[in-house]
């Protein structure tokens, strides 16, 4: 049970750091920490085989989102 509180606290910490950081490239690693924490929390909240698939779907989806934002950011910077 203490693992769940720890993971939730880390999620809040990472969300605050991501909000405070100004630079987009340095924001994304903080968001990545939050994604790890939330994916862990999903499995810790519900001990069910489908929870693993849900955590993997959440994690892969948010990684894909970060990937798309980062590559658009890189492309926009080069063009502009």
């Amino acid at each position: 049970m203490i693992a769940l509180y720890l993971v939730a606290a880390i999620a809040v910490f990472a969300a605050i750091r991501a909000t405070v950081e100004k630079n987009t490239g340095r924001k994304l690693p903080y968001v990545n920490v939050m994604n790890f924490a939330v994916a862990g929390a999903i499995v810790l909240l519900l001990d069910h085989p489908l929870a693993l698939v849900a955590a993997a779907a959440y994690f892969v989806g948010s990684t894909l989102e970060a990937n798309a934002i980062a590559s658009t950011y890189a492309g926009g910077e080069r063009r502009g």
Binding site: L4, Y5, A8, A9, A11, V12, A15, I16, A18, T19, T24, K27, L28, V31, M34, N35, V38, A41, I42, L45, L46, H48, L50, A51, V53, A54, A57, Y58, G61, S62, L64, E65, A66, A68, I69, T72, Y73, G75, G76, R79, G80
Partner: protein, 84 residues
């Protein structure tokens, strides 16, 4: 002691804090990438509540829909910036 929903008061406060930080951040950010990242943070705060209720199929569907939506918004943003 866990309630019916699977989360106790401290966890509700912590995960709701994540979602609220994301919402306030989405309002305050100036940059369009900052705004999209903040929308991602909102969903990060909401996902544990869906999981705690046991709606895992809903969670799988929503976790695949939200990133695809973000990518579509990104495409629109990029075209906008290119035209401008």
């Amino acid at each position: 002691m866990r309630g019916v929903s699977g989360v106790d008061d401290i966890l509700v406060i912590l995960f709701a804090a994540v979602a609220l930080i994301g919402a306030v951040s989405a309002h305050l950010q100036r940059d369009r990438f900052g705004k999209l990242i903040a929308v991602g943070i909102i969903f990060g705060g909401i996902a544990p509540f869906i999981a705690a209720r046991g709606y895992l199929d809903v969670l799988i569907a929503v976790s695949l829909i939200v990133p695809v939506t973000t990518i579509i918004i990104l495409l629109i943003c990029r075209r906008d910036a290119h035209d401008a």
